[in-house]
Amino acid sequence: MQILHHPLVERTRGILFGSRAHRGLTFTIVLYLLLIAIGFVYLQPLLFMFITSIKSSGDLLNPMVQWVPSELYLGNYLRAFRVLDYPETLLQSILISVTPSLLQTLVCSLVGYGLARYRFRGKSIIFVLLLATFIIPPQNTVIPQMLTYRDLGLLGNPLALILPAVMGQGYKSAIFVLIFYQSFISLPKVLEESARLDGASDLRIFFNIAVPSAIPAYIVAFIFSVVWYWNETFLTGIFLEGGVTTLPMQLSRFTQAYENLYPPGTVNIFDRLNEAVKMSGTFLNILPLLVMYFVLQRWFVESVEMTGITGE
């Protein structure tokens, strides 16, 4: 038993299993192994997508070629690029996600500010209704909206997405209202009161004091909003069909578009639609988001610390 308390043993144990002051080596190794394993599981679909997308049709048919293609084949990308009509759909995707997002962010911040800084009756009802707008499935409200838009001639017009956003009913608006509510509620009242004594109007106080204090919340809300609008296909599909084509919309009818451009009867067998072209299309579809993510990743990753997103 003596040997267990020998200083050398104690030190080894300290290094391996950690002590009160720091973590041990074993723990660190296990931690990294777990993180790498989970990280791999996360990245696996992306890796698969990318590798498949650069396979030539020979590689696709060859069962020996799994993870390492024999050559870097870019023909799939060329075809996917043409099928997606990339520059045009990309531009429309950007417009369709950025415009409603800007308006939605602004309006949700006004509503969040009103809820956080003023005392009035019926506030709890508004919170319940906010939760309701988050929960109600879109298909329970979409048909009458579509019919109304049809009567107004707005189907296929970006206004069909912009109007709800302006009224605080955009895609996942409730979350943004809550984010702003959270970030405005901690604002000290003193600033507001002294500005009011100086005769500033409520809107002025909002724009001059509240908005600058919540810049991180604005950025985070805007980025999330863009991402969610970009990826949304149910509403965009119904409201914009026939007028505007976004990247995800074009991707969801990829097969059809491909066959229009390369009719199956007329092209040789290697140019038929295969997984590699589909994966190239998918990759082109998420590429702008990936670029944005890596440029702005600090804002995503640190959004927690900056806005204290919770849902209380």
Binding site: G39, Q44, F48, Q145, L147, M167, F300, V301, T310
Partner: protein, 291 residues
Amino acid sequence: MTNRREINLRTREALNGYGFVLIWIVGFSLFTLLPLLETLRYSFNEVTVTATNINLEFVQGANFTRALFTDPNFVELLIGYAIETFVSVPIVLIFAMIIAMFLNQNFKFKGVFRVIFFLPIVITSGPVIRELTAQGAASAPGVSNIPAVVEFLQELPRALRTPVEYLLTSFILILWFSGVQILIYLSSLQKVDRSIYEAAAIDGASSWEIFWKIILPSLSTATVVNAIFTIVTLSHFSENHVIQYIYSQTYNVQGGIGYASAMSFIYFGVMIVLLVVIFLLLRSRAKRESK
């Protein structure tokens, strides 16, 4: 005199407050409440849409009985949806909690891992997921192809086989749905005062005890929020089979909009039941812990 001024000030404050939220209230009535009521009305009618107007013919509950008793697909899809949600929610919650606790530690390359774990928030969309599932990239790597696993699945009773099969084929997808939930857990963890951990450690509490007695209770609100968020995201996801079925029926000549509206409301009802059940389960747990 002062009392009256006080009242005056209060009314002014309230009015200004209403001023800020007014646009939302108008928007809610126009874009949520009215369409919701209109859809409810459709669900009790046979709806025919012509080029110029919409004709309604009242049919009582015919659309609902058709969905629940005559339609060969709808109820089965609903059951599948309920099972999938019930399997997914605990996995997402546990997984998000583990990742959040990892990310709450200090270690090298933390930034890299954070970037990886939040990546799905950015790229998860219906068509992308559809392409990935179609290529089999969404299943747990290789597991569902192992012969032993396939045989094991065939031995299972049907009631158990569906969830297990779903788990194996969509494992990565389930994990991909935990991005925002990780964020929410992380923000709750960061609100816990570090000195509590230190005090507990000095009192001789093991990490295991600290987890069950300090960390888990402090995450109970976040867990409820995350559960709601997970159920709602999964239920609204455009690749959800029930949603796709309802959507495909909307443009059907037979029944069409009225029938689709009735199904939407049944689906909404099931979703609420799921939310309430999971909410009650989590709350009863939280109560037991606080005792």
